[in-house]
């Protein structure tokens, strides 16, 4: 434990950006958890008289075309966006790692079928595939989560397959087999725990991508519907205002989205330095 902490301290000291990203991550999670208590105004209440107020005064980050407080909407959106990202990544993790374990451990037909399946998904530009899935399943937040999860499954499955495959005949697996453990027990109790560090890195990296993807879908009008605040829809609502100079309507949500994705990407790199030092860049 103390050694792990020392390693963290070393990584952060060597790369202050990781420390900054970790602070940012804590901030995002806190905001998401305590969102209802942090909002100065209601995120949905419209104040026609105060439409398009620039930042400052009663509205710290200004108001949009309907006079809604942008800061409050950003705080409410943080909770929604993080929830979408986290649930999509969790689903992709469970199904992707599950498929990868089976393909890597059993090989043969299972491997070929799963490999063909992931290859086929990867034959699409991923964002376009997500658009198609949401279009077919229906335009709801749940389907945004599903679509984002599905396009991430191949990444997890491939990585888990390779990592399982190299461990399949390792000494400790042979020992577990010899002492009469069931296959399921070997897979879940002996191989899976060894995959977790490397998969954790992947999780952090895909979390940023998942949020970006969901925001992109919302930006083109899929998924989260107005007036529900979400970073992508907020940028889209601000797109017309920016042409007449009211930059704050689109810039603050866009900047928040950028920071969130940035934070997860940097954390992923930092996590890799700690958990998987072989792949340091």
């Amino acid at each position: 434990m103390r050694q792990a902490l020392a390693q963290w301290r070393y990584v952060i000291a060597e790369n202050p950006l990781t420390g900054f990203a970790f602070a940012l991550f804590t901030l995002f999670v806190t905001v998401a958890l305590f969102a209802p208590f942090l909002m100065p105004h209601s995120p949905l209440a419209t104040h026609a008289a105060d439409a398009l107020r620039p930042p400052g005064g009663a509205y710290l980050l200004g108001t949009d075309q309907l006079g809604r407080d942008i800061l409050s909407r950003l705080i409410a959106a943080t909770r929604l966006d993080l929830a979408i990202g986290a649930s999509a990544v969790a689903l992709a993790f469970v199904f992707g790692v599950g498929l990868g374990l089976i393909a890597g451990y059993y090989g043969g037909w299972a491997d070929r079928i799963i490999g063909r399946f992931t290859d086929t998904l990867m034959a699409f530009p991923l964002f376009v595939l997500a658009m198609a899935i949401v279009a077919a399943l229906g335009n709801t937040v749940t389907n945004i989560v599903l679509a984002t999860a599905i396009i991430n499954i191949p990444l997890y499955a491939r990585m888990a397959r390779v990592e399982t495959n190299i461990r399949r005949d390792a000494g400790y697996v042979a020992a577990a087999r010899l002492t009469g453990n069931s296959e399921a027990r070997i897979l879940l109790g002996h191989i899976l725990p060894n995959l977790l560090p490397i998969m954790a890195v992947q999780t952090s990296l895909t979390m940023g991508y998942a949020i970006l993807n969901a925001a992109g879908l919302s930006f083109i009008g899929l998924g989260v519907q107005p007036p529900t605040p979400e970073w992508g829809t907020m940028v889209s609502e601000g797109a017309s205002a920016i042409l007449s100079g009211q930059w704050w309507v689109a810039v603050f949500p866009g900047l928040t989205l950028l920071l969130a994705v940035f934070c997860f990407n940097i954390l992923g790199d930092g996590l890799r330095d700690v958990l998987d030092p072989r792949n340091r860049t």
Partner: protein, 337 residues
């Protein structure tokens, strides 16, 4: 050479089959009801049932699949409900706009990423190395639609340098005679400098938004593989033989380091084609992406289906071209098999 191309074409066929199956499954087997989409915004039960019969949705899956495939083979992608135009025709007429934008974005990404990666690798620890690292971590984090809006605000609203961000050419400008479908190239071929500048002016900001988003993996990979190449034995030998550092870097190291970069391009295309849709919306670019968005909003199903298929085929084709480029760049590739 020809044999390599043919064998590469062979490997692309399973991908195309897979894509056709997935598109079929998405449109026919998922819980969503295409008949309800086709019936428009206010469907009655009868109209849905009628459309279901028209579309053949009351038949068994294998039957539906065979008729779907035979339609595809004959180039029938259905017709758009809102415009009444055949989808294939509309996609083909809009494809050059998307391709011009995507390729311009790729060119910008390559033009920034490769020199940056090479300079970062030759001077590790210098400011340019840090710049490379910052760009390759922030680049992928910036949503392309946000970059687009920021660029519009700065270069159109504040500075007034860029033209209004609506489409490929000003509505009053005359379009160049169609040869390639790329306005910039067509204008050059027609010797029309004014149209060329106008088309280029419209193209710069959206292409830049795409380029920034996709340059990160390229810069990262160029730097990493250049570092590896520069520390290899053949570079040491070349240096020891007294070749100029320029020759060593450009001819010996870069030629070898560029191969992994070409491989990365496959992933970059996935990024580019997806981001293309978003950027097209921001700049009202009349490509296949904005066509698909309009159709999605109107619940117009056939164009969406055609768009997805078109994008997937395009992606497979681009990867095929990459494979061929790779085998040209690296003569060892494909001979062992």
């Amino acid at each position: 050479m020809l044999r390599i191309i043919v064998s590469r074409l062979g490997t692309a066929i399973p991908s195309v089959i897979g894509v056709v199956i997935v598109t079929f499954l998405i449109t026919h087997a998922l819980p969503g009801d295409p008949a309800a989409y086709f019936a428009g915004p206010n469907p009655t039960l009868e109209s849905i049932a009628e459309i279901r019969q028209q579309l053949g949705l009351d038949r068994s899956w294998p039957l539906q699949f065979t008729s779907y495939v035979s339609d595809l083979v004959h180039g029938h992608l259905g017709s758009s409900l809102s415009t009444g135009q055949p989808v294939l025709q509309e996609l083909l007429s809009r494809l050059p706009a998307s391709m011009e934008l995507t390729l311009a974005g790729l060119t910008i990404a390559l033009a920034i990423a490769i020199p940056l990666g090479v300079m970062a690798a030759t001077r590790p620890g210098s400011w340019i190395d840090h710049l490379c690292r910052i760009l390759s971590t922030t680049g992928v984090s910036v949503p392309p639609f946000f970059t687009g809006l920021l660029l519009i605000y700065i270069f159109y609203y504040l500075l007034g340098w860029a033209p209004a961000p609506f489409g490929r050419l000003d509505i009053y400008a005359s379009t160049p005679p169609t040869i390639t479908g790329f306005y910039t190239i067509d204008a050059l071929l027609a010797g029309d400098g004014e149209t060329f500048r106008a088309a280029l002016g419209q193209l710069v900001l959206p292409a830049f938004s795409l380029g920034v988003f996709s340059l990160a993996p390229l810069a990262r990979m160029t730097r990493a593989s250049m570092l590896a190449a520069l520390s290899s034995d053949f570079v040491r030998t070349a240096k020891a033989n007294g070749l100029s550092s320029r020759t060593v870097v450009m001819k010996y190291a870069l030629r070898n380091a560029i191969l992994p970069v070409v491989t990365t391009l496959g992933m970059v295309f996935s990024f580019l084609l997806g981001a293309n849709v978003l950027v097209e919306k921001v700049f009202a670019w009349p490509g296949i992406g904005s066509y698909a968005i309009d159709a999605l909003i109107a619940s117009d199903y056939a164009p969406v289906q055609g768009f997805v298929l078109c994008m997937a085929i395009l992606y497979i084709a681009l990867n095929l071209v990459l494979d061929i480029i790779y085998s040209v760049l690296d003569p060892r590739f494909g001979l062992a098999a």
